[in-house]
């Protein structure tokens, strides 16, 4: 027998109670893992993009497109190396499979986003094919698209001039991300802006949102201020920010995910604290004489405190690790089922927070019963006083 064995034996002395408590810890950490993953997912879009790009959108909302005529004025701002633009297409594949599709200027897009990797020949084909479309690797794999295929895609916003919302493009390239994170996000379609601009019923000259590559990241604030000042009090007032901030703002249109996650987790952990704390307190209360015997045998006050605290740590660690493990597997299963459009991943960051939560919870539920055990007076405890 070892001290660890003794702790584990005590932990499982009332099996039903311990299993039920463990189940509540597992459920809480499962929820914790998944919710943290959601939180990370909504912020990760912002984390991996660089700060060397700015986004200029209409001041009122990004849904209001900026006109193409602003391009020369933006290009003329000192510090701007290259300007591209994207127009949200509102793409739908098949019956009702919503996908991310943008109309872009191919060569400008290539210059501004070196993170999207594709052979030069395919970039050239994209620029030269009016109906050309480039599909992200993840989406191409999912739908088994290949170069040369026709891509029938509906737009839930833009009809063609003949009134039909059914568009057809030619796949001229499959684009990859430069690294794992970008690759995970390669689930969109880029279509040739020139064709879109000419063929859509709402008229031409709508650039949508401008993306700016800077000569120096340190000029970001200065360039943003200059652009917004330039269009102040015009019919097309702008709001310019770093791409990272823009992505965060985009995610927050769903609400403050971080705040919601924090409140839900607060409620879950508060309940858990009561459940596990009560179990631990009850467990110590029931074996006051046993703890007194330990002290009688020569275990110090500190050792007895350690035994009780170790039980709390074991309970929280077993339940917490199992919960996080299940959350990780569930995250992978969800990602596999839905695809990279929902990159729900219980990653290292979530695990670090999870381990921290296990440590805090162990202390919170174990410390008071452990202190009570530490302070027991042997003669009183043995006499049942």
């Amino acid at each position: 027998m070892t001290k660890t064995g003794f702790v584990i034996a005590n932990l499982f002395r009332k099996k039903t109670r311990t299993f039920l408590t463990l189940l509540s810890v597992i459920m809480a950490f499962l929820l914790f893992g998944l919710l943290q993953a959601v939180n990370v997912m909504f912020n990760s879009g912002a984390d991996f993009v660089g700060a060397t790009r700015l986004v200029t959108q209409a001041r009122v909302s990004f849904t209001q497109p900026l006109p193409s005529r602003l391009l020369p004025e933006i290009e003329a701002v000192p510090g701007v190396a290259r300007v591209g633009w994207m127009q949200w297409f509102g793409g739908v594949l098949g019956e009702n499979d919503q996908i991310v599709a943008f109309a872009v200027d191919p060569l400008r897009h290539h210059d501004i986003y070196p993170e999207w990797v594709m052979p030069d020949a395919q970039w050239k084909a994209f620029a030269e094919t009016r109906t050309g479309a480039v599909v992200g690797r993840v989406l191409a794999d999912k739908y088994k698209f290949k170069i040369g295929d026709k891509l029938p895609m509906k737009s839930n916003i833009f009809p063609q001039k003949n009134g039909s919302k059914d568009w057809q493009f030619d796949i001229v390239g499959i684009v990859d991300g430069k690294d794992e994170q970008w690759q995970r996000n390669s689930s969109q379609v880029f279509i040739n802006f020139a064709y879109f601009d000419e063929a859509n019923q709402f008229g031409s000259g709508r650039a949508g949102i401008y993306f700016l590559k800077l000569t120096d990241a340190g000029l970001a604030k200065q360039v943003a201020d200059t652009i917004d000042k330039k269009f102040e009090n015009s019919p097309d007032e702008t709001k310019t920010q770093t791409e990272k901030d823009w992505n965060i703002g985009f995610a927050k249109q769903f609400g403050d995910i971080g705040l919601m996650v924090r409140w839900i987790l607060f409620a879950v952990f508060f309940t858990l604290l009561l459940v596990v704390g009560n179990t631990m307190a009850q467990s110590v209360r029931e074996r006051v004489p046993e703890l007194a015997v330990l002290k009688t045998l020569g275990f110090s006050d500190g050792s007895v405190l350690g035994f009780v605290l170790a039980e709390a740590v074991a309970m929280c660690a077993i339940g917490g690790l199992m919960g996080l493990g299940i959350a990780t597997l569930l995250g992978l299963a969800i990602q596999k089922a839905i695809g990279a459009q929902l990159p729900l991943s219980v990653d290292g960051q979530v695990w670090i927070w999870g381990l921290l939560a296990i440590a805090v919870l162990s202390l919170a539920v174990g410390l008071f019963p452990a202190l009570r055990a530490q302070r027991l007076k042997i003669v009183d405890a043995l006499a049942g006083r």
Binding site: T2, G5, F6, P289, L297, F299, V379
Partner: protein, 228 residues
């Protein structure tokens, strides 16, 4: 024979509610090494209090207690714990075994405080269980043992770290006559054959007869002494 236990002017008082109760009044006593002493007396006479003080479970209000030349009344709580682990074995009326551990686990418990290897611990546990005649029940949990067997496990636990002193609080108080006699014979053997000094609190005059002498306590003072 030299004294193992030397007690001088020992006083112990408790505060119960608003009242201060003095349980032992200036008690003086010597117990030689290798002695087997029974402490008898009416309820409230201070027997268990004296036993707790001798075993280092409690501290006196005043006076001196020396065990094997060490003034344990001067020890801190931590020092007392360490001292108990190496010098005293305890046997209680209700056995006080850990229900989650087997007989072997219970006996091994005090050895977790030593630096002995797992193999050596196992060997010592086997010897202790053999001494009390329970070698074949080592893998049984307390609820699978009879009262007498539980008390034997408790005695094995008390002797496994080879202490000089055994303190026993009503060790047969929860047992039938026959089993009680077996346990008392075992204690007698530990005293005579293995040289353990034993101080035993009992209400039972027949149990006291197994001891070398009986000390009678009354109202916190030694009333009389009888040799057997």
């Amino acid at each position: 024979m030299s004294n193992l236990i030397t007690i001088r002017d020992l006083t112990k008082s408790y505060v119960r509610g608003k009242q201060k109760v003095e349980v032992l009044h200036g008690l003086t006593l010597d117990i030689p090494k290798g002695d087997f002493v029974a402490l008898m007396g009416p309820s409230g006479s201070g027997k268990t209090t004296l036993l707790n003080l001798i075993g280092g479970l409690d501290q006196p209000s005043s006076g001196e207690i020396s065990i094997d030349g060490k003034r344990i009344d001067k020890f801190s709580s931590g020092e007392l714990a360490k001292w108990r682990a190496h010098n005293v074995g305890f046997v209680f009326q209700f056995y006080n075994l850990m229900p989650v551990l087997t007989a072997q686990g219970n006996v091994e418990l005090p050895l977790l405080l030593t630096n002995l290897s797992a193999a050596k611990r196992k060997q010592n546990v086997a010897i202790a269980l053999d001494v009390v005649g329970l070698a074949d029940r080592s893998h049984h949990k307390p609820r699978e043992l009879s009262g007498g067997q539980e008390q034997r496990v408790a005695i094995a636990r008390a002797i496994v770290s080879d202490p000089t002193l055994l303190v026993c609080d009503e060790p047969t108080g929860d047992l039938d006559r026959k089993t009680a006699d077996e346990i008392l014979t075992l204690l007698q053997t530990l005293n005579r054959k293995h040289g353990k000094t034993i101080v035993m609190v009992t209400h039972d005059p027949r149990a006291a007869e197994y001891a070398n002498r009986t000390l009678h306590l009354d109202k916190g003072q030694l009333a009389e002494q009888a040799a057997h």
